[in-house]
Amino acid sequence: LAKKTKEDKMSNLVEEYFEAHSSSKVLTSDRTLQKLRKRRLNQQTLHDLLKKAPLAYAAEIKELNQQHESLFSKWMLQLHLGFNIVLYGLGSKRDLLEKFRTSVLQGSLHLVVNGYFPSITVRSILNSITEEVLDHIGNFRSPLDQLEFIIKRFKEDSSLQLYVLIHNLDSQMLRGERSQQILAQLSSLPRIYLIASIDHINAPLMWDQAKLSLYNWLWYETTTFSPYVEETSYENSLLVQQSGSLALSSLTHVLRSLTLNARGIFRLLAQHQLENKDNPSYPGLSFQDFYQQCREAFLVNSDLTLRAQLTEFRDHKLIRTKRGADGVEYLLIPVDDSTLTDFLEKEDEDV
């Protein structure tokens, strides 16, 4: 009977998948955040605001954590018996691992890897092992060589013991096949003890049979419900201002460091763009027209100076040039209109 219900469930799931993906047309409203009265928050204000919001169910979460903490001694035993431990479940497991580190691993050699850190690589992990644990200076040609060296050292020296704690083993940087392979081989060494946490729902997809057997995982469900503060601080959310696109603050910063004439040039271009903002086929201002206008406003005296100025803008990603159908260069500011309006208003205030 159980099997049958399971089958039913399976077929339901399949149907649901096709239901979700059947029509290419998606029915959602066309409202955008732009129309929302709210301005976008940046990382700092977000952080401050969240501090004000009380954490719900603190007592229960604490109780949960205590439950998990009671497992620490068991983890130690199992680590020493050649298993590695992986934690899964909802909520950040960072504090839990930190607690484990401070309460149990105090005094023994350990390495903490912050997987959520966007610039972490396997090489940096290996480097910290070779440099700080094994006191080896010098570089290796490839991570594989480095790994070989580590394995050799650990085989020779039986007094070496290393605990490796990896927060978010499934993060963007570590989820690659090669890095997982290397980490798996590392963790299969008898005196390297690995504790890792995973969050992504599809994290187990990155391991095949061979890696799984190298990792020798013991799974522990540690649902903590605590917010992912550190982990999401690097996640560029849609709702937070993205560092990738040009923001108002960076715009003003850059322009403040420029000369008065240069600022005037940019202003001219911005005004022109705003005047044409309702025209969808507006290609931008052509260089010749722009030069003419700048000359008239006594902002430049020659073709060359304007070009130099524009190059500087381009380097700061303040403008973009596009060659039109007629071969003429058109200039555009790749910033959305509202930011541009804000910018102009602010400039007017300053002046």
Partner: protein, 657 residues
């Protein structure tokens, strides 16, 4: 812990030796073949090893050991992950060969120099040069022991290259290597060994005809992993040697993981190990789980608390309840008396196990020869069935009895005979067999056999008579006799049937009781918490996430969170609300609408007490909370930003989870 580590070691040793043995035959074949091969093409052995990649390590290691001891000192073991390009492959190969060589005779220091410069030039020619120099050296000094054994086989020993995982090699690299080495086969006698996980077809799909024609391939099949499993179970579980036992559910979980997931004996062993760890960690009375002699010593040194623990065991309670009241009081109060009883009980348990195994094997012989295998074909299935329930109450058992009654032909006699033989040998191994019943059985069977022989004799002689005397009267007479003898034969058939029934009922009712419901103190040696095991070995992170998000009450024991499945409770943590809202959407989600829905849900809680003046700030906070929850969902992989439409996110899951 100590005991348990001992046990672990014991277990591992046992396993390794077993694997060695099972492979040795296979290795012998390969070895022989390696010696024999000599042709213009590159001799290649394709080992079909099955999909359990994790177990192959051991196979290859022992294979290379055997080869090294018997045939050639030059073995290189290449793995796909080390060889992304032909250059790396050559490097690895040379490094390993030279290291191999040094390992074999560590006396010569000159070679160290060679090794240190191995990185410099790793081409085929340098390999050949090296090989020539080594072989020359070898020829020049024949007195060396190992060399003579080598050169007995061959003037120049072959260089064996093992490709561990054929499937994951890059085709180009492999082809190049084969082509290159085939050009130098005269100078460098190479032998390739491919480890294949799938089927031999893969060679032809990986290598084009022009390349595979350079190889002279011979196929070798290894044992299937199922056979491995049954032997491992046989060796580990069905012996009285190990005091630690698995409960039915746990065994079922382990076997299921094996059969439905990975076919890996290694993982099975890992699970078994975990069981041992769990058992010795969680069960305070597991100190008594050891050999009988040690256990008795330990019983004497039990503390009062431990005695209390024993009294608390459910099986022990049942035992106490079945005793006379006088004895009950003594058991519950006097520690010394308790210890004596415990010793007796432990002894009982031990005897029970010993009987159990041999009777189980006997039953297996009976049932495994029945058609359709109502009780299972493998001994592990029978074991599970016996552990699970009273086996004589199950339908399968009933049907197998019926089948045994029907099957009552002369070939059954031979089967019985064979079964008895196994039984005798096993009872011989289980040295202190406590019940004399085996012998009783034996004599019964022998009687049976003797009678059967007599029958045969009679029938044979009667047939002879039939041929001799041909007149009608005699014929009639002999026919009548035959009929009579047949009738008597029927009687013996009945006898056999009766034997069987006696046999079954006797052995089963006495020895086959389910451990949990009959034996006291079974908690000491049986590990039976399957859920723990399943959680640790075969976890389901998605389900955990889903329940945590869908029904936070499971984890946060707050009454406010208790709700009926479908509706969105506004008191749940933010991320749960956001998740529930996102479940209602299709493939794309509009962020603005999502935010608004979220704020209405959240405002429903705060609405009554929030003032209008501070609403702006509240709004901001809600916005921030929403951002946090959405980015958490993104981190968890439920959504991802989408470029299809502005300010939309795409859902990556579908349906209810």
């Amino acid at each position: 812990q100590q005991i348990q580590e001992d046990l672990n070691k014991q277990l591992f040793d046992n396993l390794v030796s077993f694997l060695r043995r099972s492979h040795s035959e296979f290795q012998e074949k390969t070895k022989e073949w390696t010696c024999r091969m000599k042709s213009r093409e590159i001799p290649t052995a394709a080992l079909v090893l099955g999909v359990n990649v994790t177990d192959h390590d051991l196979t290859f290691r022992s294979l290379s050991e055997v080869l090294q001891n018997n045939i050639t000192p030059y073995i290189a073991l290449l793995e796909a992950k080390d060889c992304p390009g032909i250059k790396n492959l050559m490097q690895k190969l040379m490094g390993q060969l030279m290291n191999c060589y040094i390992e074999v005779d560590s006396l010569e220091d000159e070679d160290c120099v060679q090794v240190s410069q191995k990185r410099m030039r790793c081409s085929m020619t340098s390999l050949i040069n090296w090989y020539e120099s080594v072989t020359k050296k070898m020829d020049s000094k024949t007195p060396s022991k190992k060399r003579t054994s080598c050169s007995r086989h061959w003037q120049s020993p072959p260089v064996v290259v093992i490709f561990k995982d054929m499937e994951s090699f890059i085709t180009k690299v492999l082809q190049d290597f084969i082509v290159i080495s085939s050009q130098h086969i005269r100078e460098l006698p190479l032998v390739l060994i491919f480890g294949i996980a799938t089927s031999p077809m893969i060679i032809h799909s990986l290598l084009p005809h022009s390349v595979s024609s350079l190889l002279c391939i011979e196929l070798f099949q290894s044992l299937s992993c199922k056979e491995h499993l049954s032997t491992v179970i046989d060796k580990l579980l069905l012996t009285a040697q190990f005091p630690f036992k698995l409960g039915e559910k746990v065994l079922q979980v382990l076997i299921n993981i094996f059969l439905y997931h990975d076919f890996s004996v290694q993982n099975f062993i890992k699970g078994f190990q975990l069981c041992i760890v769990e058992h010795f960690y969680s069960q305070p009375l597991s100190v008594l789980c050891c050999q009988l002699v040690d256990a008795k010593k330990r019983v004497n040194s039990l503390s009062h608390d431990q005695c209390e623990n024993i009294r608390r065991l459910p099986s022990f309670r049942r035992y106490v309840e079945s005793q006379a009241s006088q004895k009950q009081i003594a058991l519950l109060t006097a520690d010394n008396f308790l210890k004596e009883i415990i010793q007796k009980l432990l002894e009982d348990l031990h005897v029970y196990h010993e009987n159990y195994v041999s009777v189980l094997r006997c039953l297996h012989v009976f049932t495994s020869s029945l058609p359709k295998y109502p009780l299972g074909k493998q001994i592990r299935e029978l074991y599970c069935a016996c552990l699970e329930n009273r086996v004589w109450e199950t339908e399968e058992y009933e049907s197998s009895l019926q089948l045994a009654r029907m099957l009552n032909k002369s070939d059954l006699v031979t089967m019985l005979q064979q079964c008895v033989e196994i039984f005798v040998s096993s009872s011989g191994k289980e040295f202190d067999k406590t019940v004399e019943k085996l012998k009783e059985f034996l004599t019964q069977f022998q009687k049976l056999e003797a009678e059967a022989f007599q029958e045969q004799d009679v029938s044979v002689s009667s047939q002879k008579e039939l041929q001799k005397k041909t007149d009608l009267y005699h014929l009639q007479k002999t026919l009548l006799e035959l009929k009579e003898s047949r009738r008597s034969k029927k009687l013996t058939k009945f006898e056999k049937l009766r034997f069987e029934v006696v046999d079954y009922i006797d052995s089963l009712v006495r020895n086959y009781l389910v451990p949990a419901d009959h034996k006291t103190l079974h908690e000491i040696v049986y590990f039976n918490t399957a859920s723990v095991l399943r959680g640790h070995l075969n976890a389901a992170p998605r389900i955990a996430l889903h329940t945590a998000l869908n029904n936070p009450y499971c984890y946060l024991k707050n009454q406010a969170l208790k709700s009926d499945g479908g509706s969105i409770s506004n008191k749940a943590p933010d991320i749960c609300i956001v998740y529930k809202l996102h479940l209602e959407c299709g493939r794309l989600i509009n962020l603005v609408d999502w935010l608004e829905a979220f704020s209405t849900v959240v405002m429903a809680v705060e609405g009554p007490n929030a003032d209008a003046a501070s609403s702006d700030q509240v709004d901001d906070i809600i916005h921030a909370r929403f951002i946090r929850a959405v980015s958490e969902l993104e981190l968890l992989g439920f959504i991802k930003p989408s470029k299809q439409k502005t300010d939309h996110v795409a859902r990556l899951t579908w349906g209810g989870c």
